[in-house]
Symmetry: C2
Subunit: 355 residues, 2 copies
Amino acid sequence: MLLGENEIGHLALGAAVFGGGGGGDPHIGEIMARLAVRRYGPVELVDLESLDDGELIVPCAMVGAPTVMVEKFPAGDEGGRIIAAIEKAMGRKAAALTSAELGGLNGVLPIAWAAHAGIPVVDCDLMARAFPELQMTTASLAGIPISPVAVTDERTNTIVFETIDSPWAETLVRSTVGAFGGSASMGIYPMTVAQARIGAISGSLSRAIEVGRVMSEVSADPVDALCEQLDGYRLISGKVVDVERRSDGGFARGSAVVDGTGRDTGRLVRFEFQNENLAALEDGKVVASVPDIITAVDVHTGHPITTENLRYGQRVSVMAMPCDPFWRSPEALAIVGPRVFGYEFDYETVESIHG
Amino acid sequence: MLLGENEIGHLALGAAVFGGGGGGDPHIGEIMARLAVRRYGPVELVDLESLDDGELIVPCAMVGAPTVMVEKFPAGDEGGRIIAAIEKAMGRKAAALTSAELGGLNGVLPIAWAAHAGIPVVDCDLMARAFPELQMTTASLAGIPISPVAVTDERTNTIVFETIDSPWAETLVRSTVGAFGGSASMGIYPMTVAQARIGAISGSLSRAIEVGRVMSEVSADPVDALCEQLDGYRLISGKVVDVERRSDGGFARGSAVVDGTGRDTGRLVRFEFQNENLAALEDGKVVASVPDIITAVDVHTGHPITTENLRYGQRVSVMAMPCDPFWRSPEALAIVGPRVFGYEFDYETVESIHG
């Protein structure tokens, strides 16, 4: 598939749905990708299946607090610098880049970088949603080394990390992002195609494009269409009546309360986030939690709302949908389940809560 | 010259004098260098003049708070990892390493690394004393790029920084050092011998060895012998009656007061430090300041006292001596003069104050 402006528009919508409020506002990535393909031509989206086992691919993403990313943009040429740094560190050429994180900005921004660098994008990612920490990837669970990690900023400072494990990469990269002012761009878990067949989620970008296409055909609240397409559940529709948010340790943390309207009048649903929405609660009971995906949609624009854009008075529908089955194993829940984020309850699938 | 245990002992003493209280306690470096030459044989100290213009040399040092370094030791094999990372980043082999900072621990520790890595040490450094920040070097003033900077820790995490300038290297490396727990090891300002002829201070290691040799021949307070050898001035002899110290932003900051005894009875000299001693004051007047070197010596042991080892009740002599003439130009004072460290007075040479 060729990714032109049309596909980029759909991908931005779909990436926002899968972002569950996190991963940064795709709008910036969308603008940058549109400009890049106008200038350099459309980007080739290649199936993981069509590549040779031995080829090297580089998952890329911005890292930092989404609250910062909306004000501190990348320069656009980070992709080339990331690829060059990874190639130098590994002593071999890379065939393509991909998104390290489908959800949010990072589902779209790599398209801009690929257009600028003149290389294809592989149709896969490492989350099929968004997560706040670097070790929360399918690659990490598959035992693929996180290093070398290449981090660069819009000023062209470039850093290559060779860490002994993924928690050290998380610690060191997060500290560097702080020194950069809150956000940076990176290539991470560089892997062969053979490794990606086990350690990446294939088809996630094209799936997001398809979700965005369906949304773009719905004039108003797209949540019913999304729930049908993605086996999701509408948690509540109403008005945002409270938002508490702080930038803390490089993350955007906080919570929001939705006061039901219409058929949901009298209900209150509170959801909590660390970059991404992590848990939704009603009357003290968990009605959805990480790793399932909780997404708030603005019912007027039909667009998902990232956590840093939540505001008092917004009219929203909140939906929850099953995460990729990859995240539901005990091993996966040990690195992305509710307890990892400080909650004292076990994960229950959104289907079992609402089914 | 071959550096065996005898020379290492002298170098540790001399490096402590030139450290001006900073650069970390050379004792740790001395122990590590002694062990390394016992195991791998003596290290060759080569004159800068004897090397070919085109050869690459790598100045090395520990970076962080000396208060941390005394408890968190390097593993001993950092030199090889630093050299390998610099060589990979620059795509060429390095001929030797050297000390980035003569003063303190970093005057001695590179001998351990060179012994372990089986390469020579060049008789030069970038300060001829100690300074707390990475841009405070003769190399920086000579316009030699600080990057690539290779940083590694005792766990073998290794990071290569390609920064746009030296302040960014300072910011990013300092942040990484914090993430590592307060100290790390680095290679910095990798340069050709031709660059080193302009941007390094030649002969500083052998000079420190000679200073240490003279000290080792004095049984008691060596300050008179040091002042004669180094054109220095005894500021006061007395008892440490107050020490205020905190670890702050990766630095050891604080001050100490010496209450004069014997012929200095009735006098009080206060000196202030940020890793290194920065200024000495008596009755509100500056009696010595950075970039000149202020060193406190324990009159019982005859050993210089690093700022993190200052304690109430110590009997000390405090001396001040001229820094290398390199540091006295207006350009140099703009990066290492008193105002850089927050003082509101201009530098006056120690000779002009006491001469």
